[in-house]
Subunit: 335 residues, 2 copies
Amino acid sequence: MIKVAVDAMGGDNAPVEIVKGVVEAVNENSKIKVYLTGVKDIVEKELALYTYDKDRIEVVNATEIIETAEPPVMAIRKKKDSSIVVALNLVHDGVCDAFVSAGSSGAVLVGGQLIIGRIKGVERPPLAPLIPTETGCSLLIDCGANVDAKPSQLVQFAKMGSVYMESVVGVKNPKVAIVNIGAEEEKGNALVKETFPLLKNCPEINFIGSIEARDIPTGYADVIVCEAFAGNIILKLYEGVGAMLLNKVKTGLMTSLRSKIGALLIKPALKRTLKGFSLEEQGGAPLLGLNGLVVKTHGSSKAIEIKNSVLQCATFKEQKINEKIKEKVILRDTD
Amino acid sequence: MIKVAVDAMGGDNAPVEIVKGVVEAVNENSKIKVYLTGVKDIVEKELALYTYDKDRIEVVNATEIIETAEPPVMAIRKKKDSSIVVALNLVHDGVCDAFVSAGSSGAVLVGGQLIIGRIKGVERPPLAPLIPTETGCSLLIDCGANVDAKPSQLVQFAKMGSVYMESVVGVKNPKVAIVNIGAEEEKGNALVKETFPLLKNCPEINFIGSIEARDIPTGYADVIVCEAFAGNIILKLYEGVGAMLLNKVKTGLMTSLRSKIGALLIKPALKRTLKGFSLEEQGGAPLLGLNGLVVKTHGSSKAIEIKNSVLQCATFKEQKINEKIKEKVILRDTD
């Protein structure tokens, strides 16, 4: 049985969509048991709406909620009875294998490190969302956990990202590239110049060199390595440019009678095509390198994302990702 | 008379589109004289196709061409008779006020600093393209000239960007923001944390705080400050995500007969709407803070961009941007 703690109170659509997603996940995979953390009365009232195997969803009471605006370190330390801290403790205590939350990113990242703790030898745990590309999706690692990371940390990110892409997403021998401002080896800032040769001499990964931001959406690389400041810009600009362009297209379609009729005709096809592009469709972002898995899903997550994130935890456990990280990332480092 | 040196040999469409754009510019503004640098026979043959005031376009022979792949510093030092070096010398010697090139970015940036030189007191000259937004355009400063810039340099970028946005683009009291990974003042990497309070205490600019990458396309800020590694990612991802999404939309429209008919109906409206979004439409990116103006246009520039860039040089001169930079950026610094 794979046991997943889920934050019932986190995100814009909690608890309704969270509970719905959890029910869908346990109904789809009979090897999963979920511990829903949150205000007991509220969560149980929501659960009462569904039919599911009562043995495989348990509500664990947590009376506090960490808000998105709260400073993360303080919140984790003070709100011991929050849905996030209670869930993290379930993983720390070995009751659960993994934790899924749509709540405060900062609290989830900080709490994951402080409460669950890093795998021995992992310098920093990176947050690694899957981003949509023309050909499928790529892993962006790190996108928010470690600004001003060091070269040795980026090398670990590259290795952990490779393991994840190969074992969880199923990409054979994934292509790894470092985000840079030009294709040539001598280009880049101090961090990239120092990291590039380390990646080049890394036998565990399929390093293909630099990737310019322009080529990220084409799917040129499977694992895209960068420190978190750059990664965060990439992730958020992806959203921003996408939203702006689609707005522009919609406005454009409303400018004449002719285009309005055309818009009605193209709507189904367009919707189908753009669905795969949505960041939400890709499920949650794993925080890798911890003694247990933490998956952070989008704050606006609906049931489908919560379900996918819980199922993702099962794959993570079944594929023994942490064992592989210990073997491929840590042992080799200390050879 | 405003005198502009133009690299006739730089870019994918040289010399055809360059010469065409130059002729259009001098025909549109009678106060402009252009010095076209390049292989004399080739340029004159192109020029012979057009009607224009012969006194206002002069060909200056330059027998060499700097290729995009050449290491910039070496190229500038060795190819003394290249179209770029000859043009830069015209500005250095005071024959010309400004220089426009669609050629090697590296060579133009390095050459601008080495040959024309910085305004006394300017620490680093930033490259500052205009990027399209939902409401118009914003100035992205710096997008490629200075990776690993220092806080004091970013402050100068903010001031120079404000002057440019106000005087050349015509935005009154432009809103200045620094690229960050969250809205709160305590967020960011070491560079941003150090720069934020300096910008906040800067009376010459209208500083509105941090901008997350997600909000850049909305036009939330007029001047977007960042060091060049981040700026380059923003600029290139803008292009990349835009191109990918439009491809997806096009592919989607071809999936059924119904959507194909719809596509025919929406085409004109869509084309009109998206035209303003193209990066090319915004003209060239100025390299600010030099003793003269250098404008780098896209490598794939057509005549329209070359024309706009040459006209932009006239506005730059007429608006006395360098005098304003000396007054607002430098004098205040040394107060």
